[in-house]
Symmetry: C2
Subunit: 313 residues, 2 copies
């Protein structure tokens, strides 16, 4: 039986192995992903993002708990900001692992932010597809929401939750403005801090300035204190309301197309580059070209044009 | 006279126009960049990165001021986290603009984090090259240091400053661990806050654990209160010490090669993708493929393999 077949039979250890292969960029993973792909498209994918220090992990933990109470299975892909170099899991993640370790209905997987030749959003997509094909009902993708990579990742979720926190200064406000358009539900966490109401108001003003067209989803702003479980029920309610909106408005189909376009585009970019790079790497052309560029004997733009001419039909 | 020639003659308005073209991804920009490339390699490039709220903008402002006092011209490329969607400049940036508006020796340019088909680090590189070819002596690249994009950008600087701030919580600590390896100088800003010494000690412990080999650069950790100008002189001293280290150790040459390799690789990736994507877009193949993927009639991995076969020699 292939790895993919075992995974479709629900074998968690095979899934973990395939995810490791994906993370390591192993070519063999592609064949398995091909087998799994027709079985995807059933899971509900929730994105959770926000600046460092906003309490995303605690919030994720509470969302897991809430869906487990509804008897839904929950898988988590945590994009791990600590490991651009080490590939290791963060402490918080291990803690969460332990907390849910005895629960067969929870599967948490960390993903490093380095070493993904094909881009982080691609690897995330592949891992989400593994969970989806296996039949996990809720898939949470948790990531620090600052860089473009992270924004791209959150775009692949059906419902995106943007977490803020009171009083993190102007820089944070600026970032909020940037991720405003990807938020379906806004959470002001640690809302027992002073200035929570101001943060809520700021967000509401920004949403209003951005005013979604008549009949479209209007992103709600809710207050939580995740550590005390305050506001979590309301958060789940809003997530479900957005999910229903997607289904009833017919937007789910368009969403699937956008997501397919993104995934396909990323895979194409990666595939083209890998093949040509491998060719250049096979002899000393790559090294010679780079040295010439460093010495300003050739400019990188002309060097690339030359390579395109020789490699594209 | 071409745009590039005007730029080489020091015409700031032409430089601003080319940067706009680069930002907009205009194909015409490449010809100008080719002309400029042989004139690059003279500037000293400083990267400033750190989490949101660390006071990077104020610190950058003080570094500009310090180099202006040494009669150096200073150009700044600020990667703007507010504009993944709007492309607009952040408020803080406009303020800095005004402060230095009457100084011909300062040029500040914001760069959105969206719409860069060729990747943000590529656009940053191109804009740094424009400044470099024009003869700007110090080029500061300021960016929020969380995502992989940002780490890649800071890698292209000769000297990378990683800014921390006391008491931002565990999430920040985690990020610090991740960007430890790119820091040449560590700054604990807002060091009049409680716990500043603990943050310094934490960083020093992490650097020690990472212990650079004998004879290599040992990243110093210094305290600043940028808003009050405290510690800025020491920061400049450390930056200059690192610069001298690069020159005397012969590492500058290896640095240029690494940077050329990165730039070339990114341009190649982008060039390959653009050409093939344009072909697919010319008829309805792209749309048909994406619809088939969304409907699970074909998997994206097989679709990409097919396209590679038809487009690569």
């Amino acid at each position: 039986m292939s790895l993919a077949e075992k995974i479709l039979n629900g074998d968690v250890r095979s899934a973990a192995r395939l995810m490791r292969d994906i993370d390591d960029g192993m070519a063999s993973a592609t064949a398995e992903l091909k087998t799994l792909y027709p079985h995807t498209g059933k899971a509900f994918i929730i994105g959770i993002t926000g600046p460092p220090g906003a309490g995303k992990s605690t919030l994720t933990d509470k969302v897991i708990e809430a869906y487990r109470k509804k008897d839904k299975t929950v898988a988590v892909v945590a994009i791990d900001p600590t490991s651009p170099f080490t590939g290791g899991a963060i402490l918080g993640d291990r803690i969460r692992m332990n907390r849910h370790a005895s629960d067969d209905g929870v599967f948490i997987r960390s993903l490093g932010t380095r070493g993904h030749l094909g881009g982080l959003s691609n690897s995330t997509n592949d891992i989400v597809n593994v969970f989806d094909a296996m039949g996990w009902e809720i898939i949470i993708v948790e990531t620090v929401g600052v860089g473009q990579d992270e924004v791209d990742i959150v775009r692949t979720a059906h419902t995106s939750i943007v977490v803020s926190v009171p009083g993190l200064g102007d820089d944070i406000q600026a970032i909020k403005a940037g991720i405003l358009e990807i938020g379906d539900v806004f959470v002001v966490n640690k809302a027992d801090r002073p200035d929570a109401d101001r943060t809520v108001r700021d967000l509401e003003v920004m949403i209003e300035m951005n005013h979604p067209p008549e009949g479209e989803w209007w992103p709600p702003v809710i207050k939580t204190v995740a550590a005390r479980h305050d506001g979590i029920d309301e958060l789940i309610e809003k997530i479900e309301a957005h999910r229903n909106y997607l289904i009833q408005s017919g937007k789910l189909a368009r969403f699937e197309e956008n997501k397919s376009a993104t995934h396909f585009t990323e895979l194409l970019k990666d595939g083209l580059f890998r093949q040509v790079y491998t060719r250049l790497h096979a002899d000393d052309r790559l090294a010679r070209t780079i040295q010439a560029i460093a010495k300003r004997e050739v400019d990188p733009y002309s060097a690339v044009e030359e390579i395109l001419k020789h490699n594209l039909k």
